[in-house]
């Protein structure tokens, strides 16, 4: 891919950014402004920010962010377009999801880590934007209940089997049930199978 094409692609992605991306940029800008008040940090950012800034334009974001990186973030986030069943962003192909892909690319390209991008989304939309319940607070219940039910089920089966084994066995013939199922053909087949196994 030529440099012109890369730049053009970057421009296109920037264009796709929705209004709340501008909001985030505004927040970042404000936070940075506040940091200027502290001399040591000011020095640090005086060096770092221009470096990042030049890096951002020297190496276009889209060139840095691979689809794999984007999908790593995307699978943690849900599509909130309102029509799909909140499909993870790495799978969803709707228009809204494509906008979010561009936004994730831009954020990752700006040097944000996976967690920072996710945090940015949570800050904007709330926990609803996470594709699965967080494993903390009440969200933990979502994860714990199915294994709990499984263990409880095993426990119940063990108790039932124990109760049954402690009961006095009733001879099959006495129940009269087997007669309904008795089939000479099956009996013969089972007999044949037993004999072959001896």
């Amino acid at each position: 891919m030529t440099r012109e094409k890369k730049e053009e692609k970057l421009e296109k992605k920037k264009h796709l950014l929705s209004s709340w991306d501008a909001l985030i940029k505004y927040r970042i800008k404000n936070r940075t402004s506040a940091l200027w008040r502290e001399p040591i940090r000011a020095l640090f950012f005086a060096f770092l920010l221009p470096s990042l800034f030049s890096l951002f334009f020297a190496l276009p974001a889209s060139a840095e962010v691979t689809k794999i990186q984007r999908d790593e973030v995307g699978k943690e986030l849900a599509c909130l377009c309102g029509t799909c069943p909140r499909r993870p962003l790495d799978e969803c192909t709707c228009g809204h999801a494509q906008q979010q892909h561009a936004r994730i690319d831009a954020l990752l390209g700006a040097g944000k880590t996976k967690q920072q991008v996710i945090d940015a989304y949570v800050a904007d939309f709330g926990k609803i934007v996470l594709s699965k319940p967080p494993a903390e607070g009440f969200g933990l219940m979502a994860w714990l209940m199915p294994p709990f039910v499984l263990v409880f089920g095993f426990f119940m089966v063990r108790n039932v089997l124990r109760t049954w084994s402690q009961s006095k066995p009733v001879p099959i013939a006495a129940t009269g049930q087997q007669s309904n199922e008795k089939d000479p053909y099956l009996d013969k087949l089972e007999q044949e199978l037993r004999e072959r196994e001896l």
Binding site: K67, E76, R87, P88, V129, L130, F138, L161
Partner: protein, 668 residues
């Protein structure tokens, strides 16, 4: 005029089903033969009337009768005739009428087939089905009447939802409804058994096939829905854990548990209460699924079926749960088990484990669907529970179930000796291990995929071993050739060996599901003659054609497909623009090249300009093993058909008359 006729027929059906319900209650209590016969006739009449109502609605659609509100909002002149036919169930009113028709059909055939079992049990079963019929028809008549006329006739209709204009959509809803509705027959007979105090195994034997039919249709309906999602929705997958998909999965899971669990009752006279509870749960989940689909309490791709009637279904779920639970509680004394077991390493133990796993799976899905609502209600936090959660929770449970599918059939009733275990499991286990080792050596590192391959190998091994041992045993006793022995073995015990075929179909499904672990996808923006590569494939964009059709403008991109420099063929993904609609809705028609190894799946996302040159935007997937899902569905179909084939022993049993003297039957 025709709409008025449809309306009249609908209300007549409400009357006949109400009569059938009341007459069946009286005939159940008094055992009056004349009233029993009258009830049956009312059931037949209800079916005929529902069929007529549906016929009238179909006619209104096919003849573009846009003076009818439902027709005007769900069809258009340009719609192909075949789709006009299926457009009937593309909205709330028509789909409810289809539901009511299927319900009346089940009532009709169940009544017809169980005439030799006339008596309180059958009468009370009719009460349950007819009551549900009254509910549905009443809801249609009062809230969702498809025969309401406009006071003017629009020149054209608004058209069908474009997403539903697909062949799979023609049969997906009816099949799902056959599943949802069909579970009412075993449920009604279970309740009939409790009400008539005939809680022996009769209701289970009577309804065995009536349970298999809805189980089959519910499963197949979901797979068809998956096929539709795969081809139409264009996200490269077939199962997205949509809440409404989940709602259909719930009764299928409990229904599968029930199908296994009843075998213990039939063979060993055990688990009577449990089986009652399972069928109650299954039918409740059927109505709960309807409630989810229609109420809009969860966001879903099925949003087009939502309406304010959700609370009515919520109320019906409540009525079913309360009524069934009280009835079961008051009849507990009749449901005592008679025989006992010897060892946990037995078929009984295996079935119990099977039930625990199926119910855990049911709970996990239910919990996932309801958790966002519960979370918001209790904490105020809006939470999303989507595919990553369900995959994380359900994959281990599914693999445990698959493992049990391999182990269960080799366990003997009452007790399995360790010697027998070793002998029967040795080869299948070796084969299973081989099925995991080979892909591991070839570089597969996904642990779930390796476990899945191992379990699939084990189950296949046990199935083959069961057929082989049976054929050898039969061959040696009858002198038949191996092939004939195999055929006759299956013919003489359709239920057992048909069940094994179904299990093999499930194995194939799992192989298909496992392929998800190796999916690849790329996005490509291609100008004329530019190429993109994914896996072993190279795709070259060869241009676009535009075709104006009555409903759509079809933009068809052409892609040449190459592998190792050799041209394999051409793919034509499409964008369809519904240009006559106000919203200019677009749908995609993916192009798929499928073989036993993988699907090459291409979605055209649209067209754009780059340097004054037109480019096409593609999303390309390589989805390994997908075709095995559809092959598995066919194998399950064949296996289910084998288990449902008539058995001479059942015919002999049906000749018995329960509850009524033989002379009365003769008079009838």
């Amino acid at each position: 005029m025709l709409a008025q006729l449809g309306n009249f027929v609908l209300w007549l059906a409400i009357f006949t089903s109400t009569y059938a319900c009341i007459a069946a209650i009286i005939s159940g209590r008094t055992k009056r033969l004349d009233l029993t016969i009258s009830t049956e006739r009312a059931v037949y009449a209800t079916f005929a009337l529902c069929l007529t109502a549906m016929g009238v609605l179909e006619y209104l659609f096919v003849t573009d009768s846009f003076n009818v509100h439902y027709v005007a909002t769900h069809s258009s002149r340009d719609l192909a005739t075949g789709y006009k036919f299926t457009a009937v169930w593309s909205g709330m009113q028509g789909s409810l009428l289809l539901w009511a028709l299927i319900l009346s059909g089940f009532n009709f055939f169940a009544t017809l087939k169980t005439r030799t079992l006339r008596g309180p049990l059958a009468s009370y079963a009719t009460v349950i089905i007819s009551f549900t019929q009254v509910f549905f028809l009443g809801l249609i008549g009062i809230h969702e009447n498809p025969f309401i006329e406009l006071n003017f006739t629009p020149p054209d209709g608004q058209g069908m939802n474009p997403l539903l204009v697909h062949p799979a959509m023609a049969i997906h809803p009816p099949m799902l409804y056959l599943g949802y509705v069909g579970f009412i027959v075993p449920y009604a007979f279970a309740m009939g058994a409790l009400l008539s105090r005939q809680a022996d195994e009769e209701w289970i034997r009577t309804t065995r096939r009536w349970t298999l039919v809805p189980w089959f249709f519910l499963g197949t309906g979901q797979l068809l829905g998956g096929k539709w999602a795969y081809v139409v929705l264009g996200w490269g997958g077939y199962w997205g854990w949509d809440p409404v998909e989940n709602a259909a999965l719930l009764p299928w899971l409990t229904g599968t548990a029930f199908l296994h669990s009843v075998m213990i009752q039939e063979k060993k006279d055990m688990l009577k209460v449990w089986n009652m509870a399972l069928i109650i749960l299954t039918f409740t989940l059927c109505i709960y699924g309807t409630f989810l689909t229609r109420s809009g309490v969860v966001s879903s791709v099925h949003a087009f079926a939502q309406s304010p009637i959700g609370p009515w279904f919520g109320a019906l779920v409540l009525v079913i749960v309360v009524f069934s639970s009280i009835l079961l509680y008051t009849r507990l004394d009749m449901l005592k088990s008679k025989t006992h077991y010897e060892s946990p390493i037995s078929r009984e133990g295996g079935f119990l484990l099977n039930n625990v796993l199926f119910l855990t799976a049911t709970f996990a899905v239910f919990w996932g669907v309801m958790f966002p609502i519960i979370s918001e209600a209790l904490t105020g936090d809006k939470i999303t529970v989507s595919a990553p959660y369900f995959n994380a929770v359900m994959v281990p449970i599914g693999l445990l179930l698959l493992l049990l599918t391999g182990i269960g059939p080799l366990l003997a009733w009452r007790k399995t000796s360790s010697q027998s275990l070793k002998r029967h499991f040795a080869y299948p286990t070796l084969f299973g291990l081989l099925c995991a080792i080979v892909p591991a050596v070839l570089g597969v590192r996904d642990i779930y995929a390796l476990i899945s391959f191992a379990c699939s190998g084990l189950v296949t091994g046990t199935i083959v071993s069961e057929f082989h041992r049976g054929a050898l045993a039969r061959g040696s006793s009858s002198g038949e050739s191996y092939i004939m022995a195999l055929i006759n073995l299956t013919r003489r015990n359709k239920r057992r060996y048909g069940g094994y075929v179904v299990h093999f179909g499930i194995v194939l499904l799992f192989i298909g599901f496992t392929g998800n672990a190796f999916n690849q996808d790329i996005e490509a923006e291609l100008a004329y003659q530019e190429s993109a590569t994914i896996g072993p494939y190279t795709l070259t964009y060869e241009g676009v054609t535009e075709e104006v059709k009555p409903l759509t403008v079809d933009l068809t991109a052409q892609l040449g497909v190459y592998k190792n420099g050799e041209r394999l063929g051409t793919m034509w993904p499409q964008q369809k623009v519904y240009y006559k609609r106000d919203d200019q809705q677009r749908t995609t028609e993916v192009s798929i090249r499928s073989n036993l190894r993988e699907d090459l799946y291409v979605l055209c996302q649209g067209f754009d300009q780059r340097d004054g040159q037109e480019v096409a935007l593609f999303h390309v997937y390589v989805n390994p093993l997908v075709i095995w899902v559809w092959i598995g569905a066919w194998v399950i179909t064949i296996g289910t058909l084998i288990t449902m084939l008539p058995d001479p022993r059942d015919k002999a049993r049906r000749r018995r008359v329960v509850g009524l003297p033989q002379e009365q039957e003769a008079v009838a």
